[in-house]
C-alpha cells in the first residue's frame, strides 16, 4: 500500500470525485476537521435532493415489498428520476392509505362480530340490557348451565344460550348473584354498543366484513400490479441513487479550505503511477509514497492478494480477523490445511463425490459474489480430499467398505453386493483406531510446526526476542512429537515414522551412553528439546507453563480421528440395520421403505458430517494454529466507489 495525497482547486471537486469513484482505487482516510484552514468539506449541492429521493424510494420499495431483484434490469437516467419517483410516490401512498384504512376497518369489524355473536344467540334487543335504575345485568360466558333456583331466593331472571348467560337481578343482590355464578365458571363481558336485534346487527357486520375484504383484495391486487410494473425501476433507481449519494457526500471525508481540497488515502503501490497520470492530466497535484517501516500512526488497510483457487478461502480469514499490514496472509496456510482436515474427517469416497457434485452445481448456478458460492467451493475442495482418502486410504463409500476387514468377513461390504473394487484399504477405520490417532498426532505436529515457522517469519521482522520464542516453541513441539512417536512405537505407522523419517534422531546421548531416565527407556534428546520452551521466557515469564497447553493442543487434533471414526460408525450402523433388516429379506414393501430410510439416513450423516467436520476443520486452524502466529485486527481495503457487498 502507498499513502496518496491529492490536492486541487475546489471547483474541480465534482469531476475529481467522479473519476475517483470510477477508478475504485483509493481507500479514503476520513479527515476529522481538527485544522483551522482545512475543515471537513460540505456535501455537493445535489446531495440534499438526492438523499431525499433515496429516502422516498426506500419507503416506496418498503410499501411495495420489493425484495428479490427482478429478472430484467432497467437502466435509469438520473435526470428523470425525480419526476418518476414523485408520481410513483403519489400513486402508492394513495393506495397504501386505502389499504391501511381497509385493514383498520376490518379489524374493527372483527372485534364487533366477536362481541355480537353470543348476544345474537339470546335474541334480546341490545337496549334491553341497559338503562335500569335498580336492576343489575350480568352477562358472560359460563361453563355449566345455571337455573333461577340456584340463586337461593334472590329474585332473578335468567336467559341462556349454550355457554352463555344473561342474569337480571336486583342491584342490591348483585354481589351475591356474582358469588353464585362464580361457582358455574362465570366470566363477565361488556355489553356491545348499539340498539336493536343483535342477530340483525351481526348479519349487517358480517356483510360489511365481506365487502371490505373484497375491497382490500382489490387494493392489494392494484399494489401487486404496481409492484410488477415498477420493481425493476425501484431496484435500479435505488442502486443509481446510492452511488450518486455516495459521490455527493464524499466531501464530508475530505479536507476542504475556502478554495482548495485535500484527499488523503491508501492505494495499492503498483497503481500509484496510474493515479498520478490520470489526475495530473486534470491539473490535480498527486503525491504518493510507501509507508515507513516504523510504526505509523495509522495502519494501512489490507488487500489480500492470493492465487485464484485460494481466493474462496479469504472469507474464512476475514471471519476470524483481517490480517494486519505487517504479517503474512494466512489464507494459503488455511486453504491447504482446512480442506485436508475436512477430507480426513469425512474420509469417504461417496460423500466426497457428493461434496464435489454440490460444488459443481454451485459453480454453475450461484452468483460468484454470494457467500454460499464460497462455502460450496471450500467444501468441494475438502470433498476432493475426502474422495482421494476414501478411495486409496480408507477404501469405503457411503460407510460401506470396499472389502470386509480381514477378521470380520461377515461385515457388510461392496463384496456383499458382488461388486469387486480393486482398491485395498490401508487403514480400516473401525479397526484402526490407533492408526487414526497416531496420524492425527502427526498432522498436529506438521500443522503446528508450520504455524510456528510462519510465526517466526512474522516476528523476525520486528522483534528478534519474540522470534526466538517461536523457535523455542517449535523445538518444544518437536520434542513432544518425538516423545509421543517413541511411546506409540507399538503402532505400525508410528514405528515407521520413528525408524524412517526420524531415523536420524539421536536415540541416546552418545558420550554418556544414556538411554533412559530413572530406569525408564526414553529418548533424552526429546526431553532436552521440550525445554526449548524456556526460550519463550523472552516473551513472558510464565510462558513455559504453556508446555502443558501445547500438549493439550496436540491432543486436540485427535478429534480428527474421533470424528472420522464416529461418522463412519454411524453410517455403517444405518447400513447394517437397513440392509439386513429391511432390504435383504426381499419383501417389496419393506425394500421400498428401506431404501427411503437409507437415503434419509445418509442425508443426515452427510449434513452432520458437513457441519461438524467443517466447523472442526476451521476450529483446528483458528484455535490451535492461528493463535501461534496470527494477530489480525487489520482494516480491509475498501476503495471509494466499491459497492459494499453483503458480509457473513
Amino acid at each position: 500500500m502507498a499513502r496518496a495525497l491529492m490536492a486541487g482547486p475546489r471547483d474541480k471537486l465534482p469531476s475529481v470525485i467522479a473519476t475517483l469513484h470510477e477508478m475504485k482505487l483509493i481507500h479514503i482516510i476520513d479527515h476529522h476537521g481538527e485544522d483551522e484552514t482545512f475543515r471537513i468539506g460540505k456535501p455537493l449541492p445535489p446531495a440534499a435532493d438526492l438523499s431525499e429521493n433515496l429516502v422516498k424510494l426506500r419507503s416506496i420499495a418498503n410499501l411495495l415489498a420489493v425484495k428479490t431483484p427482478p429478472k430484467k434490469k432497467e437502466t435509469v437516467r438520473i435526470e428523470e428520476l425525480r419526476g418518476k419517483i414523485l408520481t410513483l410516490e403519489l400513486n402508492i401512498t394513495e393506495e397504501d392509505a386505502a389499504r391501511k384504512k381497509a385493514e383498520a376497518l376490518l379489524s374493527d369489524l372483527d372485534r364487533r362480530i366477536d362481541e355480537l355473536r353470543p348476544f345474537a344467540a339470546l335474541e334480546l334487543a341490545l337496549e334491553t340490557y341497559r338503562g335500569y335504575g335498580t336492576i343489575a345485568v350480568l352477562v358472560g360466558h359460563i361453563v355449566k348451565e345455571v337455573s333461577e333456583a340456584d340463586f337461593e331466593g334472590v329474585p332473578t331472571e335468567v336467559f341462556q344460550a349454550p355457554g352463555f348467560v344473561a342474569v337480571f337481578a336486583p342491584k342490591s343482590a348483585a354481589d351475591q348473584v356474582l358469588g353464585v355464578l362464580a361457582k358455574f365458571g362465570f366470566t363477565q363481558i361488556d355489553i356491545p354498543t348499539g340498539e336493536g336485534n343483535p342477530e340483525a346487527l351481526l348479519d349487517e357486520a358480517l356483510a360489511d366484513l365481506e365487502k371490505w375484504k373484497a375491497r382490500l383484495e382489490e387494493i392489494e391486487g392494484r399494489l401487486e400490479t404496481l409492484r410488477d410494473r415498477h420493481a425493476a425501476f425501484v431496484v435500479a433507481a435505488e442502486e443509481v441513487l446510492e452511488v450518486e449519494v455516495d459521490k455527493a457526500e464524499a466531501p464530508l471525508r475530505f479536507a476542504v479550505s475556502d478554495h482548495s481540497f485535500v484527499i488523503d488515502g491508501w492505494l495499492p503501490s503498483a497503481r500509484s503511477a496510474e493515479l498520478r497520470e490520470r489526475f495530473e492530466a486534470m491539473g490535480i497535484f498527486v503525491e504518493s509514497e510507501e509507508p515507513h517501516r516504523s510504526h505509523e500512526p495509522e495502519e494501512p488497510p489490507v488487500l489480500l492478494r492470493n492465487p485464484k483457487p485460494v481466493r474462496p478461502f479469504e472469507f474464512l480469514v476475514h471471519l476470524y480477523s483481517t490480517p494486519n499490514y505487517h504479517e503474512l496472509d494466512p489464507t494459503q496456510f488455511l486453504s491447504l490445511a482446512a480442506p485436508f482436515f475436512f477430507g480426513f474427517m469425512i474420509g469417504d469416497a461417496g460423500y466426497g463425490a457428493l461434496f464435489i457434485a454440490l460444488g459443481i452445481v454451485a459453480m454453475i448456478r450461484l452468483n460468484r459474489e454470494s457467500i454460499w458460492w464460497r462455502i460450496f467451493m471450500v467444501t468441494a475442495i475438502g470433498g476432493v480430499w475426502a474422495l482421494i482418502l476414501g478411495l486409496f486410504i480408507f477404501g469405503e463409500a457411503f460407510g460401506i467398505p470396499f472389502h470386509p476387514p480381514p477378521a470380520h468377513l461377515e461385515e457388510l461390504s461392496f463384496e456383499t453386493f458382488g461388486i469387486s473394487i480393486p482398491l485395498q484399504p490401508i487403514i480400516h477405520k473401525a479397526f484402526g483406531v490407533a492408526d487414526m490417532v497416531y496420524l492425527s498426532i502427526l498432522f498436529a505436529a506438521m500443522h503446528l510446526g508450520t504455524a510456528y515457522i510462519i510465526g517466526f517469519v512474522n516476528e523476525i521482522r520486528h522483534n528478534k526476542k519474540h522470534a526466538l520464542a517461536k523457535l523455542g516453541w517449535f523445538l518444544c513441539l518437536f520434542g513432544l512429537f518425538t516423545l509421543l512417536t517413541f511411546s506409540l512405537r507399538w503402532n505400525g505407522i508410528a514405528l515407521w515414522v520413528w525408524n524412517v523419517p526420524l531415523g536420524w534422531f539421536p536415540r541416546t546421548i552418545e558420550p554418556l551412553g544414556l538411554s533412559g531416565f530413572v530406569g525408564v527407556k526414553l529418548p533424552l534428546v526429546s526431553l532436552v528439546l521440550i525445554f526449548g520452551a524456556f526460550l519463550a521466557l523472552t516473551e513472558s515469564v510464565i510462558a513455559p507453563i504453556e508446555i502443558a497447553g501445547l500438549l493439550a493442543n496436540i491432543m486436540s487434533y485427535t478429534r480428527l480421528a474421533g470424528l472420522g471414526i464416529g461418522k463412519a460408525a454411524i453410517a455403517s450402523a444405518f447400513n447394517t440395520i437397513l440392509f439386513r433388516g429391511m432390504i435383504f429379506p426381499g419383501q417389496i414393501g419393506f425394500v421400498i421403505l428401506g431404501i427411503v430410510f437409507l437415503i434419509m439416513a445418509h442425508l443426515l450423516v452427510f449434513l452432520l458430517g458437513w457441519i461438524s467436520a467443517g466447523i472442526q476443520a476451521l476450529r483446528l486452524n483458528y484455535v490451535e494454529a492461528f493463535i501461534k502466529f496470527y494477530k489480525g485486527n487489520g482494516t480491509p481495503f475498501r476503495p471509494f466507489g466499491m459497492r459494499t457487498t453483503q458480509e457473513v
Binding site: M555, R559, Y622, V623
Partner: protein
Amino acid sequence: MVADPFAALSAAITMAGTGIATAWAEKVVGGATVGAMAEKPELFGRGLILMVLPETIVVFGLVIALQLLSKVGAP
C-alpha cells in the same frame, strides 16, 4: 467375554461425563454468543471460536476412553 468390565465401564463413564461437561459449557457460551451477535453481527467469527473451545474436553475424554479400551480384552 470382556476381560476387564471395569475398564469398559470406566470408558463409558468418561465419555458420558466429558460429553455432558462439553454440552453444558457450550450451552453457556453459545447463549452468550447469540446475545452478543444480536448487538454486533460481526462477532460471529469470534463467537464460533469460543463456542467450539469446550469441545477439547470431550476430545480428551475420547483419548482417555480409547486408552481404557485398550485394557479391555478382545470380545
